[in-house]
């Protein structure tokens, strides 16, 4: 356990002058442009933004799966150039290895590090215990509910004691009640392990409830539109979501995102050649129509 209970917060993420474009048939597609973000050690930061604005792109670059076209990504001053066990990741799609039991999945990172079997078994059991999953250690993922799969996914990503945890809409596929429970579990683990978290979501309530700070992105090509500190005290209770402070934050973020979503959709509707509907769908007028 000693290696996962960090002594001093680590995991300072810094993304500077970042842009990334994909190669498309009609030339490069600019996904993210001119972006600066940072996550302080031990901080919980969320990224929200309209669909397709480049949230996953940004996160995948921090994970090391994508190379920035311009700019630089560093963690604790070291340049990121490829995936590593220092940066744990939880994906939106369930990504447990179906051929491994729950415990073997959690052990995977430790195995890759060369930890002897008995030792990593013990470590995996301890972690599964913390997440309330010890009863399922011998199950194959197929037999688990969606919420449990993601819980195992989080535990697996944390097992190697990463400096930062990256999550890409991890609860997107879960029902509302399970979501709330998962948010609580994630908060608990984060506070216990004192690591930095970068969390992508399109759920505004989720972002506010979990985060110390929220970045709101613009429509594609994505960049940072606003940075909103969340001064709500911790530990946070579900009841806080009714407080005026929470609701004010929510209103603010909501209107930011709405603006961007409409911009994004306006583009799409124009792309589909729907001007024939006799509605002025260009940019601003769409905002008024809706």
């Amino acid at each position: 356990m000693s290696d996962i209970a960090a002594k001093e917060p680590q995991g300072h993420i810094e993304v500077r002058n970042f842009s990334l474009s994909y190669d498309g048939i009609e030339g490069p597609v600019q996904a993210v442009t001119d972006t600066q973000i940072h996550v302080k050690p031990g901080e919980f930061v969320s990224i929200v933004g309209p669909s397709g604005c480049g949230k996953s792109t940004l996160l995948n670059a921090v994970a090391g799966f994508l190379k920035p076209t311009t700019g630089i990504v560093t963690v604790d001053g070291e340049r990121v150039n490829g995936p590593s066990a220092e940066r744990g990741m939880v994906f939106q799609q369930y990504s447990l290895f179906p051929w491994k039991t729950v415990r073997e999945n959690v052990e995977f990172g430790l195995k890759m590090r060369g930890m002897p079997r008995s030792q990593r078994e013990r470590a995996a059991r301890t972690l599964l215990g913390l997440a309330g999953l010890e009863a399922f250690e011998k199950h194959y993922p197929e037999k688990l509910s969606g919420g449990m799969k993601q819980r195992v996914g989080i535990v697996r990503a944390l097992a190697t004691g990463p400096k930062v945890l990256l999550l890409d809409e991890p609860f997107g596929a879960l029902d509302a009640q399970t979501r709330v429970i998962m948010q609580q579990i994630l908060t608990n683990m984060w506070q216990r392990l004192k690591i930095s978290v970068l969390f992508v979501t399109h759920d505004i309530d989720e972002a506010i409830f979990l985060s110390d700070r929220v970045y709101c992105m613009t429509a594609r090509p994505g960049s940072i539109k606003a940075e909103i500190p969340i001064p709500l005290e911790r530990p946070r209770q579900q009841s806080m979501m009714m407080s005026s402070e929470f609701l004010a934050l929510r209103r603010g973020l909501m209107s930011l995102i709405r603006e961007e979503s409409l911009k994004a959709m306006g583009g799409e509707i124009n792309d589909m050649g729907m001007q024939g509907l006799n509605i002025e769908l260009h940019g601003h007028s769409l905002v008024e129509v809706l």
Partner: protein, 275 residues
Amino acid sequence: MPPSATPPSFGTLALRWYRLNQGRLRATAIGIAALIAFLLVWHLLTTYRVVFFVRFTNVPSPLAVYASFTKAMHDPKFLMHILLSCRRIFIGFSLAAIIGVPLGLIMGRFKLVHEIIFPVAEVLRPIPAIAWVPMAIMLWPTNEQSIVFITFLGSFFPILVNTLHGMSLVDPVLVRAAQCLGARERSIFREVYFPASLPHIFTGLTVGMGVAWVSLIAAEMISGQYGIGYFTWEAYSLVQYADIALGMIAIGVLGLGSSLLIRGAGQLVMPWRAK
């Protein structure tokens, strides 16, 4: 466990077992009934020597086949035919699996290998193994080797193609998950690509085993001196009609047995897919 008053009686247990297995019991019962009906129809068609488009005049009856079966069981030559066929399958199929699976895995992982080998494989693949018989006889010094070669060819392509297919379907998110848990190329191959492809590899092995038998029997009939295919063909030449059916049934049973073996192996190797 709830504090139940009495343990369930034997009767209730039996009833519960019956309910749980009702579907399987039903399928077994119907299956047995269908087999009996098949034998009965066969019996009637042959005893009355029915001629109705097809001629059953010379077709042996089930009883005649059973008689030649009991005789064959005491005949070391018949057992030798079977043993030889099994040996050819074993060698040809094993070689195909030992070469086909790793080759498919490597082709799936390394583009260059794929680009080199795939076109050649695509050209050779549609040629039925039987069409290889003359070439095989020229290529290999002994008859035995050419028959094994035909068997190998028959099973090789289904195994290769299915392994490749399995590799192409590996979920990239699993590869990414492994990468950010610290896995390097070798571990990713062993821990992700290989197990993820196993279901398709086993599909390939099952199909390959079927084609191996088809190719073997054809090769034995054309160029063999021993083997169950040769036995069946010889029976026709010698006007031993009951032995024809016996040979056919033996081939069927052997084919079924070998595919059951593969299925069993698959369940052992892939416990996560057990029902």
